[in-house]
Symmetry: C2
Subunit: 317 residues, 2 copies
């Protein structure tokens, strides 16, 4: 299969294959993305985050279905950094299979840490670009809102929806300010439960305390299961998007995002070379023996490794 | 002051200055150590570790005084990675001033994270080499036994004395196996207190459980304040040293240690270059602007940074 041609012909299998190649750290995948990079920038990227059990998948599904009614093409990336095998996420896919995944305008992909050479974040960045090139109008990144790696992933999004549920109580206090700060919109799901208004009020109080910017994230009560508030949520996403563009903060955000991504790829590429060098026991052992014999000091041995590194890189180009 | 000449003439101020230069990441310090590296390998390096309050400083002081009686030259490096200003350690120095530090055969230095460019571990490695070149017979590295950075530091030692006190009880259980494993000798200090024998028995039980090697760390009750058990402790250090040499495990340990150190210096040097590149906003901003304008993709931008990196390194040599 010609992956690149398949991707451009909107073949979902080609997209799926390319994402796998990206996960496996195959340089051919990077090559294809490089060649098609000019086609990116069309998709709107929406992050859906929140604690386990708040109903992130349901929110994503309902949003996706609503946008499908408007004829939009949808990509969904369900990220589970805690799973080495995306086991949970695969189960999630099965459940979804019945409705969303049979829709030709929807592409769903689970991503865990399994085989994500160079980090899950890099693979997810790649997958987003692939789905953007594919021609998706909206790409959802769904991830549990815990840990630095997930915050890094969700920073990819143009708009981040933080999903919560009533009765979190002290949990809201426990949520680190850093996590609250990545939410552009707060959705209190299952808001037919007791305490929904109180949870919303607590979020508002957190926002009073934490946010200093001009934009104030709206807090919306929804009942995703029954489609309650889903249209309103889409409207808030649009409003956020308009604000970002009008205020110029989108451009600044995107530039910072690209900078972080480029530095990540750069560091990762360096660390991979360092790692493969440390696996080359011949060179290392020879150097260490020289240090043991006092023919060389540790600093000069490290300098030699740096020469080796530079030499390796020179041969690459 | 000619630092190198001063060091070779056993001028303590030169040693102190050189350690500061090492902490500040000055390349001249590395150059001097490189030139004198052939003179290292004389000193015996003894790690003293344990929880706060177990009496590490007292144990170190008494061991140092005993060894001074035998005419040995002593270096003491008191490491406090938790202190950005070595505040606590400086106070410790003051207390010591009165007796040990006025002894011309003793050199005491506190090291915290303050200004330790390239990491405390690298600075401590440097300080040990400097004191070794200076001509110290014994170098003590005293550090609180918590955290990975301290474990890394104490791994520098030929022999690690783990200091404990009676009544730790559950604390012993709480001590991670990884930390127990770095102890070559266990000293139960303040053993005139209730429960000293029980603590010793608990340590023995831990050792039964954790150690699989041929060498079994001895457990010794001491009362450092009254000099109780200090001579015996020195004898155990000698025994450990003899065992290590006879069994060949010293050579293996030293080789692993050097490998870890060389890789650390190498990684640190790479990361410093990366860091200084990320500070060079001109290059980065230009690249990011190109990515924003779709003239370049993030992967190719990272490749350009790698070229820049290699170019930087090439100019260095």
């Amino acid at each position: 299969m010609d992956i690149k041609a398949g991707l451009l012909k909107k073949d979902k299998r080609a997209a799926a294959r390319l994402i796998s190649m990206m996960e496996n750290g195959e340089s051919e995948a990077v090559q294809i993305i490089k060649e098609c990079y000019g086609m990116t920038g069309h998709a709107r990227i929406i992050g859906i985050t929140g604690a386990p059990g708040v109903g992130k998948s349901t929110v994503t599904d309902k949003l996706a279905k609503q946008l499908r009614k408007e004829g939009k093409q949808i990509g969904i990336i369900a990220v589970d950094p805690t799973s080495p095998f995306t086991g949970g996420a695969i189960l999630g896919d099965r459940v979804r299979m019945t409705d969303l995944n049979t829709d030709p305008g929807v592409f769903i992909r689970s991503m865990g840490t399994r085989g994500a050479l160079g980090g899950l974040s890099k693979a997810v960045h790649g997958a987003v670009k692939i789905l953007d090139i594919f021609g998706m109008d909206y790409i959802f990144i769904e991830t549990v809102g815990v840990g630095q790696s997930e915050i890094d992933i969700v920073k990819l999004a143009d708009t981040v929806i933080m999903v919560m549920v009533p009765g979190l109580g002290d949990d809201i206090q426990a949520i680190k300010a850093g996590i609250m700060e990545i939410g552009d919109i707060f959705a209190v799901n299952k808001s037919d439960r007791d305490g929904a208004d109180r949870t919303a009020a607590e979020i508002e109080a957190m926002l009073d305390f934490n946010r200093s910017e001009e934009y104030r994230p709206p807090v919306l009560n929804i009942i995703a299961r029954d489609n309650g508030g889903i249209e309103e949520l889409i409207r808030l996403v649009e409003e956020h998007w308009e604000y970002e563009n009008k205020s110029g903060s989108y451009k600044k955000k995107k530039s910072n995002r690209l900078k972080a991504e480029v530095m990540d790829i750069f560091r990762d590429s360096i660390m991979r070379t360092v790692h493969s060098m440390s696996e080359n026991t011949n060179i290392i052992n020879e150097l260490i023996q020289k240090v043991m014999d006092k023919q060389l000091d540790p600093y000069s041995a490290a300098d030699r490794l740096m020469d080796e590194f530079t030499e390796n890189q020179r041969h690459k180009f």
